[in-house]
Symmetry: C2
Subunit: 321 residues, 2 copies
């Protein structure tokens, strides 16, 4: 193919894809990377087999304020089940939920959420849990935007997922969120099937109940998929090193380092929340989604940093409706 032809095709692709991205260095770095690894003649070519892309979820593919959405889900469950669990009145993080003490809750972090979700949804089968999540997703509304939580997925990132898949990438979620919580709605919203969703998990137990095999949720943590847990989970679930990774907080640093340390072309991206008006503005001092060490490392190593305010024409999927 001639240089002119290649430029022309690239131009058409640019015009069609990533529509919600402004022309900016972040967009250019994505397009350049994809062009490099898909150019069969070049030394930078990567076979489709190895085009593995991993994405954090909270704060990377959808919003995470005022608190992780899964935490808001768990709060409702805990409140609903409180009468049957009088012990929760004096036990953290349940006490904080029942007293509306959001500060203590935020301090409990991912593990606090996992504990709330575990305790408030254990004893039921995996199918029963999916049903509860699915129902909640249909009727719950975000406190600021008064819309279903899935409306707060980021339109530019959905376009990026599509763009990567069109270019032969396999897209994965690698999130601290609960694996069974996410799988219920991610295929519909992100086009990512359950087997490509990796997250934190609790222990489940196989049992035959009335002649029917079921998997029962146990109140025990199986795996916390955050920080140094992310490369561990990537290795366990995928068994290959990604060439493309996107995150937004210090919880994603090790996943980005793991991706960066492979051979050949690599893409490491970070969403920087800079838009107080359209979304939220936070980084180093935020309880939820703190971006501090990873921001320093991204700057010093030349990783791609998306400035949400400058780089995105629109933020949420609902803005296109």
């Amino acid at each position: 193919m001639t240089r002119g032809k290649r430029f022309c095709i690239l131009f058409i692709i640019m015009a069609i894809h990533l529509q919600s991205w402004n022309e900016c260095p972040a967009k250019k770095s994505i397009l350049d990377f994809v062009a490099d690894v898909t150019d069969e003649g070049s030394q930078t070519f990567v076979s489709p087999h190895d085009r593995i892309a991993v994405f954090d979820n909270d704060g990377t593919l959808w919003a995470e304020k005022p608190a992780y959405f899964q935490l808001l889900f768990a709060l409702e469950r805990v409140k609903a089940l409180a009468p049957e669990n009088p012990g929760w009145k004096t036990k953290q993080p349940f006490k904080a939920v029942l007293e509306g003490d959001m500060k203590s809750l935020a301090a409990a972090g991912d593990r606090g959420i996992i504990e709330l979700v575990m305790e408030s949804t254990s004893g039921m089968t995996t199918d029963e849990f999916s049903k509860i999540v699915s129902d909640w997703m249909t009727q719950a509304k975000h406190p600021r935007f008064h819309r279903p939580y899935t409306d707060l997925a980021y339109q530019p990132m959905l376009e990026l997922l599509d763009y990567l898949r069109m270019n032969g990438f396999k897209t994965y979620i690698v999130s601290g969120g609960g694996i069974e919580f996410m799988r219920v709605w991610m295929e519909g919203v992100y086009g990512i099937p359950p087997e490509q969703v990796i997250g934190s998990s609790i222990i489940t137990r196989f049992e035959i109940r009335d002649n029917t095999p079921v998997l029962l949720r146990q109140p025990m943590l199986d795996f916390h998929d955050d920080k140094a847990g992310k490369p561990v989970a990537i290795n366990k679930f995928i068994g290959r090193r990604p060439i493309f990774a996107f995150g937004n907080s210090d919880g994603d640093l090790q996943m980005l380092q793991w991706t960066a340390s492979g051979k050949g072309q690599r893409f490491m991206g970070i969403i920087h929340h800079t838009d107080a008006e359209r979304e939220w503005d936070y980084d180093r001092y935020s309880m939820v989604g703190r971006l501090d060490k990873a921001l320093d490392e991204a700057n010093s190593r030349g990783w791609t940093i998306v400035d949400m305010k400058k780089d995105w024409k629109r933020i949420f999927v609902f803005e296109l409706r």
Copy 2:
């Protein structure tokens, strides 16, 4: 499509595929099942998205005698490392290895193997481990057939894997074997990529060594993927219920039950080792690969049972060379 045309196409596919299978009820049940779930017009149609097929490995896709091949790998490691580990002389299952006491070893089962592999390969990185397995696979020879272990994959089953994939199935391994042991060679032998290989695992730890991120193998069990663990692992890794499952021992019973209990068309298959001459002949009283309860359940529920001696024209891949 007319009935005649469909029959004609089916006939051509039958003629090309599953060549190493004799015309038998097992082969017919596979062809019928695949025809049913891929027939778009019919009520039995299953969309490609849900065509998930799971396979046990040892005794289902390759041989498992005189002992699990991974155990034979671990024995060599233990012997090689014994001088540096004097404590092994008095500690089971290491003592059994060093004394050549195969009976005590067989009694240690999967967990014994995992312990041997864990202890003899911990402290190293996942990359170092892959290299050791890869080297062993290249040079080690099976004691009876004097060939590389991968030559003892079952030719009829490779044809079945291909046949399913050609019909839109996603093929997975769900084995008690070590996940990192299997991933090294399975893509080359079975055409199954690492992310579709599920197995037993040990804990790994992320660490930065001389500025390079590594995953270090720890001498701690993470998950034992056998018996009731198999449906648990299927749910965790795949997040959807298979419609097709193949095993050969009681360790596969729960995976078969889990597959059988979903809605719509289901296929459950069992390899029965009946050929003492070409392979081995064992079931209810075998230490390795015991097939007892699962055989009863297969008989009573009408699952497909492959009689290796009668149903397979050839057994091993090397017979075709």
